[in-house]
Symmetry: C2
Subunit: 370 residues, 2 copies
């Protein structure tokens, strides 16, 4: 299965003609999962190879406008552009995000009389009180979704922190497990870890031939984990004839933060193929960044290092940093300096640093061995 990440917006605070507001898409066979949806994300997606109609899940890291103002419009446009009888129509768009997101969507869609051609459900993460300064905490009175469900809204879950794992289990099926963990920002913010499940290793075909098992349906049954008894009476377990499991891929996307809360991320993000981390300002502005609940490349590098990830992708740059392709000699605020700062912090670790730009796509190839 192919897996890639496409950045639709890499700017902080607001969208500009050079950098969209926060949004990225994890694309897999047949569906897309979106992480954050700042204003203008639907237009950015039209400019990209992403087909917004394929979006089946949305993860909102936190309720700042530059991460969520594009969501009502995106849902409306997907609906408008989906033929009513299309088989591509999502069964239900599952939306995950902090408490308050359900109310946000119910009011924005409700007041604009927006009807969708598909159902949606908002699954709210219950923040803990230490995720942000006191003034950033929204009371239950403000965040509670009042009144009736939107006509296309399905009852969503309220997901509390699992104290054992210090994380939130958002979703699990036979291909993926998605968990969230807590970040520290000006308002409750979350990181998301998408873990692909391990796949069974390759069949030892030489061995099977020796045992007289011919290629055919039996191979498939062994690969899917079945124990077989051959005509000879020999019992064959999958463990005998399969190479070691092929590890699943892992993509981690952190919302705005000046730090990660707790230690869950070290295990959750361990060895991630891609860790997407904000770097709003350069290291020389560390104090200002922290004051606004943001990170610098050094902060991001420290997280990448403690999780021993393969690739650190920086994004969510202050709008003062132009995209590399528009950077001219002599311009100040060169985004490449942010990359240099992270690389310096990660020297000798083998962790690759990548600067995200709008429309950058990163493939995550299948693994072959552990």
């Amino acid at each position: 299965m192919s897996l890639d990440v496409t950045f639709l917006g890499t700017g902080s605070a607001y969208p500009s003609p050079h950098r969209g507001a926060s949004a990225l898409v994890l694309r897999m066979d047949g569906e897309c999962w979106m992480f954050d949806c700042g204003e203008g994300t639907q237009t950015q997606s039209m400019r990209s190879h992403i087909r917004a109609g394929k979006i089946s899940k949305v993860f909102i890291s936190h309720l700042h406008g530059d991460h969520v103002f594009g969501l009502p419009g995106l849902l409306c446009t997907v609906s408008l552009n989906t033929p009513p009888d299309s088989p591509q129509r999502p069964r239900c768009v599952d939306i995950y995000g902090p408490r308050g997101l359900r109310h946000f969507l119910r009011v924005t869609l409700g007041l604009t009389a927006s009807q969708l051609l598909f159902p949606y459900a908002v699954h709210e993460l219950e923040p803990t009180s230490d995720q942000c300064p006191e003034e950033g905490q929204l009371s239950r009175e403000v965040t509670a979704a009042h009144g009736a469900l939107h006509p296309q809204e399905q009852e969503g879950r309220s997901i509390a922190l699992d104290p054992g794992s210090d994380s939130y289990l958002l979703f699990e099926d036979d291909r993926f497990e998605v968990r969230a963990f807590r970040l520290f920002h000006r308002v409750p913010s979350f990181g998301f870890c998408v873990q692909e499940k391990d796949r069974p290793g390759r069949l030892k075909t030489e061995l099977l031939k020796e045992l007289g098992v011919k290629p055919g349906p039996l191979y498939g049954r062994l690969k899917s984990g079945e124990t077989l008894t051959l005509d000879s009476g020999r019992v064959l377990t999958p463990g005998e004839v399969l190479e070691e499991d092929i590890p699943g891929r892992k993509v981690c996307v952190l919302g705005d933060c000046s730090s990660v809360l707790g230690r869950a991320h070290v295990r959750l993000c361990a060895g991630a193929d891609i860790l997407v981390h904000e770097a709003t300002l350069g290291d020389e502005q560390q104090e200002k960044a922290a004051e606004h609940g943001h990170s610098t490349p050094k902060t991001a590098a420290a997280v990448a290092w403690e999780c021993h990830v393969r690739k650190l992708v920086l994004y969510h740059f202050s709008q003062r940093y132009k995209p590399v392709t528009l950077q001219k000699d002599g311009d100040g605020d060169d985004v490449r300096e942010l990359k240099g700062q992270a690389e310096e912090a990660l020297q000798g670790t083998g962790i690759e640093v990548v600067l995200a730009e709008d429309f950058l796509t990163l493939s995550i190839p299948l693994k072959r061995t552990r």
Copy 2:
């Protein structure tokens, strides 16, 4: 005083890379008034000569997402880009729109913890029940703004229809009067009429010389309407020494509609310099347009004709109509056909038809005579 209109979005239903969602700006000395604010309007304004920080009033025609989803983000970005001690900071941004707009802003700004560096007030227009089909009417339960004011929100007015004039008086000062009138659409929708006040005519300087009044402060006092007594005892009224009043300019912007309700517009929009009217689809799709509460060029032309306006500007085109500059020979759905249909309907009337495109600016020159 210079006066011009700039279109920031001319597409219907949703923003696309070719046509932004609905938004236009009336620019005058020192300030800008915005009409509708679809998603992405802030980015469109960055691409234009409009300085969003100058926006002092916003008029929202109706609460469909393609006309309002950009408003919370626009306010936030204006605030972020305004130095806290700037003299250019608007004293208070006055926002006018249908009942429900106050709740929309309070919830979107509140849940995203958006703080503004300036106050705002939402003045709500109370729709009448015949402005839309029954299913498009939002109950008071849905539209009522709950809870406390947003920290930067000032108490706004609730404006009812004035039965005498069949219109809503939104605003009046020594330069302008702005009124709204009712349209028929799928949800309550309004048209806005910005009437510049008449200015006193030129001084009859020859006559004044004959009377022995020399150029100087007396000229200014006469022009501002003062009656003077000369040393000779002669009483001089402004009417004697001033040419006829110079009529003020008039710009009318109609929101989405399939028709205008009542007859107020005929008087309000009479002789308008510019009438901006939607034309979502071509005349050949009149039935479909009406079914969705929209107009075709013929509908727009009929309104322009009954108001005897000078210039009819068509906008809010279905996204199937590319901008003229991107239209290729052989492409279907040529927006120029919409212009042709309006021109045909207005043949011989002297009313000019203009196709709006994103970033088109139309100047409205000062008048000299009636």
